[in-house]
């Protein structure tokens, strides 16, 4: 990256380190932090939306819908999340290919599962066999995001389900007394008021989500864990201009510190949001705030 880095063998000390830390591979490593942030930025709202849908379904008066919602919440919570990650990445991929197969090659006669092979007709491959590399990467990342959203959607559904039940019954009765339809009272009374009850659970969930991001590595995405293992491993002079011993420990220490800082900052921000939302609420927290101000 710098002109002085042209011949690494002449470098030593700090100069060597600066050049080492700015190699092309290290730049990819730094960029992969962006991947993690991108994952969070997409997953958090998607999971929240899925959680909302799940909570509404679980509350539904239509029995099958309610079972579906409750089943979704219970199943995802009862099974290790990492098993879900490993399962969904293949299952979603095969599901998509199977649907495309039905759509594109309706008169394909061979069975799709042949022993330990999963064969769909060539135009049904997702992504297509001749697609450029970046399409494959985006596809893999999208599958990962979707998997995260399914798993964390169930946790969010659980939190929102509880929060909806926590809104004082009197509020809903008042809405009914005013002649609001169930739909109106849901939209105008329940949803605006549930957030203060949901926030502790949701902030917890955000922390859990942050701490789940390294699992991207297991989904085959080139994330920070992948690069930390790659870059930290022993490098011999034959293959690199910057030989070094096994530094994986230091790379993972760096990741550890990164996550600690990230969760700490989130904690501080969420505390402020909570203080803001509690303002004027008829809860213990709101009361304490009022007394402190007086």
């Amino acid at each position: 990256m710098f002109a002085s880095c042209a011949d690494p063998t002449t470098l030593h000390g700090l100069g060597w380190l600066v050049c080492y830390l700015t190699t092309a591979k290290h730049l990819s490593f730094y960029a992969s932090f962006g991947t993690v942030l991108l994952l969070l930025a997409i997953t958090a709202p998607t999971a929240l939306a899925m959680g909302f849908a799940g909570a509404v379904a679980a509350r539904s008066r239509i029995a099958p819908l309610s079972w579906l919602g409750r089943g979704y919440i219970a199943l995802v919570r009862g099974v290790p999340d990492i098993a879900f990650f490993l399962f969904f990445v293949i299952a979603l991929d095969q599901g998509i290919e199977y649907l495309r197969h039905l759509w594109f090659c309706p008169d394909w006669s061979e069975p799709i599962r042949q022993g330990s092979d999963f064969r769909v007709c060539p135009p049904a491959k997702a992504p297509l066999g001749n697609a450029p590399q970046w399409v494959h990467e985006i596809y893999g990342f999208a599958l990962a995001v979707f998997t995260f959203a399914i798993v964390f959607g169930a946790f969010a559904a659980n939190v929102l389900f509880g929060a909806m039940r926590a809104v004082p019954r009197a509020q809903m009765e008042t809405a009914e007394a005013y002649g609001m339809t169930p739909r109106q009272s849901f939209r105008r009374i329940l949803v605006p008021q549930m957030w203060v009850y949901a926030l502790p659970g949701l902030s917890n969930l955000w922390m859990v989500l942050i701490k789940a991001t390294p699992l991207l590595f297991l989904l085959g995405v080139e994330d920070i864990v992948y690069w930390a293992r790659e870059l930290g491993g022993t490098k011999t002079p034959q293959f690199t201009e910057y030989p070094h011993g096994d530094w994986r420990m230091w790379y993972f220490l760096f990741l550890l510190v990164f996550y600690l800082a990230f969760t700490r900052v989130s904690e501080i921000v969420l505390e402020r949001v909570m203080a803001r939302l509690t303002k004027g609420q008829a809860t213990l927290g709101g009361e304490a705030q009022r007394k402190a101000a007086a």
């Binding site: 199943l75 919570r77 009862g78 099974v79 290790p80 999340d81 990492i82 098993a83 490993l86 399962f87 293949i90 299952a91 095969q94 599962r113 022993g115 330990s116 092979d117 999963f118 946790f155 659980n158 939190v159 509880g162 659970g201 917890n204 969930l205 859990v208 942050i210 701490k211 789940a212 991001t213 390294p214 699992l215 590595f217 297991l218 864990v225 930390a228 293992r229 930290g232 096994d246 994986r248 420990m249 993972f252 220490l253 990741l255 550890l256 996550y259 600690l260 969760t263 700490r264």
Partner: protein, 269 residues
Amino acid sequence: MSCYETLMDYGLRSIGIGERLLPRGDFTLCQQVVLIGSGMIWNIYFGALSLVTGFFLATALALAKAGRNPWLSKPANAFIFVFRGSPLFIQFFFAYFLFLSLKQSYPFFTPLTSATWGALLVLFLNTAAYSAEIFHGALLSVPKGDIEAAEAYGFSPRTRFRRIVWPTMLRLAWPAYTNEAIFLFHATTLVFFSGFPATAQKGDALYYANYFADKTFNPFIPYPILAGYFILLTLVVIGLFGAVNRHLNRHLPTAPQRRRAGMSPGFLR
């Protein structure tokens, strides 16, 4: 090959007893159920041992954190912050590579580079930190009146803690602690995916489920089997913890039972 033979061959495969080679092709349902079940031995080993040992460290940490001595509360706080603030997955990786480099200079650390001891140590510290936070919260909610009553009866500080504070703390913390136990068992599936090697293919349930999914390219059989085992394990944990909960609350007149494996997902890593 009958299913009984499969059970004999692979029932204890995960701890190295039985057939040396894993099945290679023509996987039967029986093989998958047996081998994944065999892997559960590891999940139960990691979960149960770290839970039991972590319980004691957690109590000590909670007391240190709540105490007035900064020489104790500061380190306890820092410990809890480090283990609760970072992903368990990264902790495993870091610990493994740390033990690996320590091994170079001190052979004493050699056992810790295996999952059996190294991963157990990490899980022990991790669950101690999460449980300590739960216990600390419960410790702060012990009713003041209870302690005053104990003082009035002339209990020594030691007896007061053993007879009044500690049981009440446990009683208050139990629902949340049940949750922590469930998620700890779930977290044990991370071990063999985070650096720690599965020597001679001796792995946990997820390791074998993943093996079958890779070989058959069909995730719809091994993962539901795994899910079944874990739901069973979760039910057992809830049953055991429920029994303890009833014991802890036995003096209360039909206390309203809080929903156990309750509403908060907070203890997942």
